[in-house]
Amino acid sequence: MDIPTLAQSIYTSSVGTAIRESETLFPLIESVHVLAITLVAGSIAVVDLRMIGLSWTSRPFSRIASEVLPYTWIAFLAAAVTGALLFTSHAVEFTQNPYFLLKMGLIALAGLNMLTFHFITSRNRAAWDDSRRPPLAVRLSGAASIVLWIGIIAAGRWIGFYLDQVRFGG
């Protein structure tokens, strides 16, 4: 099945139809989505700023990561579920929206950055866990995460802006 056919069947699914035809479901799910995204970006920034060596440097990196990241994951799960629900309601339009594709690409890059850090960069974590200024690779990974999440928020806002431009001609 190709992407347009798949998007069309998601669009006509009962979930997609229910959200699209309801007056209140889309705005409510979208509000939860925005709330979840703000908590993902804001909480991960706490860890990123520690990796860069800008904030909470008096505490070991691993301590902050283990305290903060569970909240990031809960919020990310909420963002992913609500995002998927929003997608079903206008699946065809979203797959044709350049900012939606940009947002998905940026999320993939943020995931890749996280995996690279987790499996490669942080292998010598014990050597810099207490350091107020972690090694360059760690600082770069933290900075990349902050930039990517700001990009994800902006791309997300632009998805709606682009939809309005297409629907109402700006």
Partner: protein, 170 residues
Amino acid sequence: MEDNATISALVQWLAATRLSSALTAWPEIIPLLQSIHIVCVAIVMSSVSFYNLRVLGIFARQLPIGAVAARFLPWMWWTMPVILTTGILLITAEPARDLQNSTFWLKMLLLLGALSLTTVMYVGRDREEAIRAGTIRKPRWRQLVAAVSIILWIGIVFAGRMIAYTQNGS
């Protein structure tokens, strides 16, 4: 609020200002300001959430409340001016969208409540040391205030997103 003559006059005056024309001269200015606004909301939401979760005894329990407040509350206070500036610019660009919208005024009311509660908690933070030292008993009201604060901040994000759906004549 929608029928208030003073508000109508303010909306007309704002819409006629040079700043309002400048902000609407290029359609991308509004999503750009909204993106900056949401990034700042991410910082504030995460900061107040971690602080309030610490007061509730859920987050970073081994740290004194004062240490968690020192890490997170300055981020909230320093981000608020950017939120207010981008918010005022967005109102200036499209005054009727916000000022003649009851959801916007609900958001302002919730914001006033949330900021007041955070201030009350912050002013009383010195008592934390005495509580830890066992000199005085931990007051339960602080936990109640923390729980109410979290609910108010969630309400602010919801109302903020719902403004787009409750505009007059849309």
